[in-house]
Amino acid sequence: MTRVVRLTVNGTSHDVEVPTYRTLLDCLRYDLGLTGSKEGCGVGVCGSCTVLLDGKMISSCIALAVFADGREVTTVEGLAEDERLHPVQQAFMDAGGFQCGICTPGQVVSAKALLDANANPSDEEIREWMLGNLCRCTGYYKIVESIRAAAQRSRA
């Protein structure tokens, strides 16, 4: 059984015919070719599939595409403006907030959502917000530093 869902992804509207069981993550990756969002755990725990749905971060691996019908999705591909990286992306580059890169799209999208909600988070607020984004490389310190730097740069 299929449904046609209307998704606005990174500002562009798409009508996509999907099987009802299509996850939002698979729809983004395979139907729309947006492979920035990754599947890690597949059960909503690791955060590598994080996208924004109507501005709120969710796990796209346990959301069905049909749930997003008529709504706005933001993925990591939607953050940079042309060649200019989003301040969070630039800060992750500058402060070394990533190594292997698998978790990075989810980290960056979550961090953007944090700064949208709270332009000046404390380290504790950063850690509480980001605790659902697992990283096996960095030890997290540089991720927190990156977000702190992005917040400072956004305020400047």
Binding site: T20, V43, K56, M57, S59, V66, F67, L131
Partner: protein, 295 residues
Amino acid sequence: MNAFDYRAPRVVDEALAVLREYGEDARVVAGGTALVTMMRQHLVRPGCLVSLRDVQGLSRIEATNGALRLGAMVTHREAEVSPLVRERLPVLAETFRRVATVRIRHMATIGGALAHADPNQDPPVTLLALDARVEVRGAGGRRELPLGEFFRDYYETALEPGELVTGITVPLLAAATGATFLKFLPRTADDYATVAVAATVTLEPDGERCREARIALGSVGVTPLRGRAAEALLPGERLGERVLQAAGEAVKGEVDPLSDHRGSAAYKREMTAVIVKRALTQAWEAARRSARGTR
């Protein structure tokens, strides 16, 4: 995942009609955090998903005489950050804050969590201590039942076929009452509890002794539990070490935890006593502050 029909009705009656049409082959889906995960693991294979996300009027948080009413589609995050919940029932807002991660709290709903009836969840523990009532609708109309009668067994509720949860009503705290929620997490901050405890303590008019205490326990039985034997020891008492020790001992006999990677059954039973004592102490101190503040 298996193939299934998908319906997204706009009113509750239409959702109930789909449930009648498909019978036991239909599953209601709210946020989907539990159900979609189980479907991905092939634990559930519904013939039809009935989504409540387009149903009007299920996402409200309202103050009604002496209580808060939260619609079934209110997300955990909305309950956590709601100014109304934070002001009137801070213990409930704090409980929602302790669930999983912000990302999951954006998705998971109150009604979905209740219907899922996983005994490791946090909000049912506090809702049980607060004497919340669940509102249910089915072909026969609307009914309300105490949360203590709603949970029947591991993942089993009192919902009849064709019924769905539409909301929950939570009484505000009585005067001179303190309430607390504690979640013991030896592993990670987003984990299920090894044991979770919610406690309320209401003082006598003199502000010196306990009139009534309620204790609710999570992750230590097939449903959230009330610690009634421990509660019975507390009226008329000042909550000092001797009484708290007795309450902790009593509660050990009321739980039936499973051994798993969050601890052995024996360890969880011991920790239940420890966390109950801590929760009662905090609720007692909050009640004393509340009593002093109102006199």
